[in-house]
Amino acid sequence: MADQFNKGMARNIYYGGGVFFFLLLVGLTLDTLRVLPERDHRENITEEVAHGKELWENNNCIGCHTLMGEGAYFAPELANVYDRYGQGNEEAFKAFLQSWMSIQPLGVEGRRQMPQFNLSTDEVDALAAFLIWTSRINDNDWPPNIQG
């Protein structure tokens, strides 16, 4: 690098740039936290939804599935599974999930298998409530289609 560009200037880019953009990130975060309540409809997080999230975590579902596109890429996206199989009917979706969870693993030879998690009826309902709530977060219209 040219001689007129000295180490002091380089140091200023590092410390100055780092501090400035970190503060900008904090500012943008504060703004995001201000608008997020309208987008995540947190008023609808019932005890059942919160319990559903616990079950989601305690069974490490993210180790195979994606949720809003994040996670493993081994099994289907589930942030829109309610849109895919619920047809807008919460009761129908819960009934679907009950039967789906109960028949795992499918045991088709060579096919990817989902373990049997032995969840109770209430627990599967809670999981469904969590996935229904998740499907209604404003996520800038992702994914592009129903398949996720």
Binding site: K7, A10, G18, F22, L25, F74, P76, P143, N145, Q147
Partner: protein, 465 residues
């Protein structure tokens, strides 16, 4: 090696390599599960194998970073390490916690593990990469604090070189941003927002400072180029990494709840993220070209150059191809992401670890100018097998991802193929990935072998100017 206390780095490097081998074993199993869906089911479900694969990576990289710090900080500070005893104790604490956690993953169903470790008191488990039981996370914090204290005290009583200052900033950042892993609200949108404060601010933030410092240290040693020149480059590179990467976090905020301006901010700033990686390539090659001596450890030079190139390809190029919001709308969470993840982690963080190990291990074994030429030859073969293997894995996954996008994401609701039907179509490509995975594993096996190859040791050559 100037100080005997630098030797505490040795067990850290060795244990890192043991965990690396474990990571590969599970990587191979996962690759097979992609093509034979029920392979090892129900004994080792995919989610468990994946958790072991990614957690082993994170933990061994931390071991390597710690080893690198214990080796280079005393030498830079020109003083003995503050407390070699503390470093040795923390090694055993971290190793025991790591092994216990991995065994827990393997032998206890995850829901049981959550119960056994009282996850309900402070629920932090079950989130990608942060699957560790809360008690393990607390252990990581304690180890990190003790480690940063030890390194910090060493720097305080010695020379405060640029490399040491950048490294310690990165290490403090590593410890601080890990604290966000303890924040896990019931609101998934908030949970995800701050999950990235650990994950993104590690790999696209403070880890880049650690990488830059280790690379700069190694280049000073193997090229003999004036410290002033190298330090100036280091400042600019990591400065650019922070300037682009901090707001570049926006590329993770496109589709998980935050508002629309992140589409613009994330796209623009993350489009700049390849620049510091490109500068690293220019920097590394320029320093090697202007070298003042021919270091006997020429394979360490190769690793340093390789880190710059593969880091640029994996983090820079493969990051850029899917980072713009209109592209990411279709590629988010497909095999494109997996392709980028593999090449970026390998090119940047695995290779910088192997660089410092390749440079420092021979010195700690009494070979100041590197291993014998025969050993370096084996290691050079390992270098190329690993690089070509990982490049092949990445290209295969990129093709798989592009095909997945075309079948599953681009068509409308009526025509789009389902996830599982799409995966069926990708099978032949996953077999190709598996093939390159075998090549990669072969490369790592050769790398381990090179540690045991003897022969006549090389000598340094001064370059006449």
């Amino acid at each position: 090696m100037k100080f005997s206390s630098q030797m505490v780095a040795k067990p850290y490097f060795i244990f890192a390599m043991v965990l690396f081998a474990g990571q590969l074993l599970f990587g191979g199993i996962l690759g097979l599960q992609y093509v034979i869906g029920d392979f090892l089911f129900p004994y080792l479900p995919f989610n468990v194998a994946r958790m072991v694969h990614t957690n082993l990576l994170i933990v061994w990289l931390l071991f390597a970073f710690m080893g690198a710090s214990y080796y280079l900080v005393p030498e830079e500070a020109d003083t003995e390490l503050h407390s070699p005893l503390l470093a040795r104790i923390l090694f055993w604490v971290f190793a025991a916690a790591g092994v216990a956690t991995i065994l827990g993953y393997l032998f206890v169903p995850y829901a049981e593990l959550a119960k056994l470790t009282y996850n309900e008191l402070l629920p932090t488990m079950g989130r990608e990469f942060l699957e560790q039981p809360t008690i393990t996370k607390i252990g990581i914090v304690i180890v990190a604090l003790g480690f940063v204290f030890n390194i910090g005290m060493t720097i305080l009583k010695g020379r405060k070189t640029v490399i040491n200052m950048v490294l310690v900033t990165g290490l403090i950042g590593l410890a601080v941003f890990f604290l966000f892993s303890f924040y896990n609200p019931s609101n998934l949108a908030l949970d995800k927002y701050f999950w990235w404060w650990t994950v993104h601010l590690w790999v696209e933030g403070v880890w880049e400072l650690i990488l830059g410092a280790i690379l700069a240290f190694t280049l000073i040693k193997v090229t003999g180029v004036d410290r002033e020149v190298i330090e100036k480059w280091l400042y600019v590179i990591i400065g650019m990494a922070l300037i682009s990467g901090l707001i570049g976090m926006g590329h993770h905020y496109f589709w998980i709840g935050p508002g629309e301006y992140w589409l613009w901010l994330g796209s623009i700033f993350s489009a700049i993220e390849p620049i510091p990686f490109f500068m690293m390539v220019v920097f590394a090659f320029k320093m090697v070209r202007e070298r003042r001596h021919e270091h006997g450890n020429s394979i360490a030079v190769t690793w340093a150059l390789g880190t710059a190139v593969m880091g640029f390809l994996g983090a820079g190029v493969w990051g850029f191809i899917h980072t713009l919001a209109p592209v990411n709308y279709f590629t988010h969470g497909t095999q494109i992401t997996a392709a980028h993840g593999h090449l970026a982690f390998f090119g940047a963080y695995v290779m910088i670890s192997l660089t410092i190990i390749s440079y420092a291990m021979p010195i700690m074994r009494g070979r100041p100018q590197g291993n014998s030429l025969q050993a370096q030859k084996v290691e050079r073969f390992a270098f190329w097998a690993m690089c070509i293997g990982m490049m092949g894995i990445t290209l295969a996954l990129t093709v798989a991802g592009a095909y997945q996008v075309a079948l599953q994401r681009m068509p409308g609701d009526a025509e789009a193929l389902s996830f599982m039907a799409t995966q069926g179509k990708l099978m032949p490509i996953y077999w190709v990935r598996m093939g390159f995975g075998v090549l990669f594993i072969g490369g790592v096996a050769a790398y381990f072998t090179s540690f045991f190859v003897g022969g006549k040791l090389p000598e340094a050559v001064k370059i006449e100017s």
